[in-house]
């Protein structure tokens, strides 16, 4: 099963749409609630990252009998220093975004902590691709 979502830059009102849909889907499939709880944290954080930091992108979720794999791809600007971005507390978010309670520098660490496999690739001027997977 494949689900695809477009994620627009700057539109915080839509952040949570993909995670909410995927959560409902996994519940219907009677996936272990513990697995659902972890993956929705990762998906929500990935959505917010695309909204807050990129010029826009998309998310693809693939679900089969063994687990869920999520690919999040944006169209730039790319991350300058991935190692720093992965550090808890480091953020490049704008003041406006921080005032909403985002930009605490916990997004990528939350994704890392709540997934079984996680890779991040980024190229300046091109974009960022996150791939993560949780096993059922």
């Amino acid at each position: 099963m494949k689900l695809e979502f477009d994620i627009a830059s700057g539109d915080f009102s839509k952040a949570g749409r993909a995670s909410s849909r995927i959560k409902k889907m996994l519940k219907q499939l009677q996936v272990d609630p513990k697995v659902i709880k972890r993956i929705v944290v990762a998906i929500y954080e990935a959505e917010v990252n695309v909204v807050a930091h990129s010029v826009g992108g998309k998310m693809l979720a693939e679900i089969d009998g063994t687990g869920i794999r999520v690919i999040v791809q944006d169209n730039g600007p790319g991350i300058e220093d991935i190692e720093k971005a992965m550090q808890e507390g480091y953020s490049t978010a704008s003041k406006a975004v921080r005032n909403m309670g985002f930009g605490a520098g916990m997004g990528l660490p939350n994704i890392n902590r709540n997934t079984d496999e996680f890779t991040i690739e980024s190229e300046l001027g091109v974009g960022t691709v996150l791939t993560f997977r949780n096993n059922f």
Partner: protein, 121 residues
């Protein structure tokens, strides 16, 4: 700043909390019978996303609808807005859809959290 209550000895419903502390009910009335498992206090959304637990009451001053996205994903019992803050319109809409009450108090976070902590432990 975070404060977690995980004691589960005292069982309480959201409606009882509303009555006990004279909280305003802005929306999500269908969730007033939700059972409370504890509390979580934070205004950083990723902190709540990463660390809150199902059934907790979330005390915050954030009023926009992402609060409800998180409350829904984490299956929280209710949200309490402090210091007289009121939810934005799309927040109450989402609260009604999800059946997760948005409540309000004029108290500051410290006092509200202290009251909740004493009540639940």
């Amino acid at each position: 700043m975070t404060l977690t209550v995980t004691e589960e000895e005292v069982e309480m419903k959201v409606s009882e909390l509303v009555e006990k502390f004279g909280l305003k009910v802005f929306s999500g009335e269908s969730g007033l019978e939700n059972e409370i498992s504890g509390g979580y206090v934070s205004d950083l959304l990723s902190d709540v996303m990463g660390n809150s637990q199902e059934g907790q009451v979330w005390i915050t001053l954030q009023t926009h609808q992402n609060v409800m996205a998180i409350a829904s994903l984490k299956e929280l019992a209710a949200v309490i807005l402090v210091k007289g803050f009121e939810p934005e319109e799309d927040t109450t809409e989402r609260s009604n859809e999800e059946g997760i009450p948005v409540l309000g108090t004029d108290k500051a976070t410290f006092e509200m959290a202290g009251n909740l902590y004493i009540t639940l432990t």
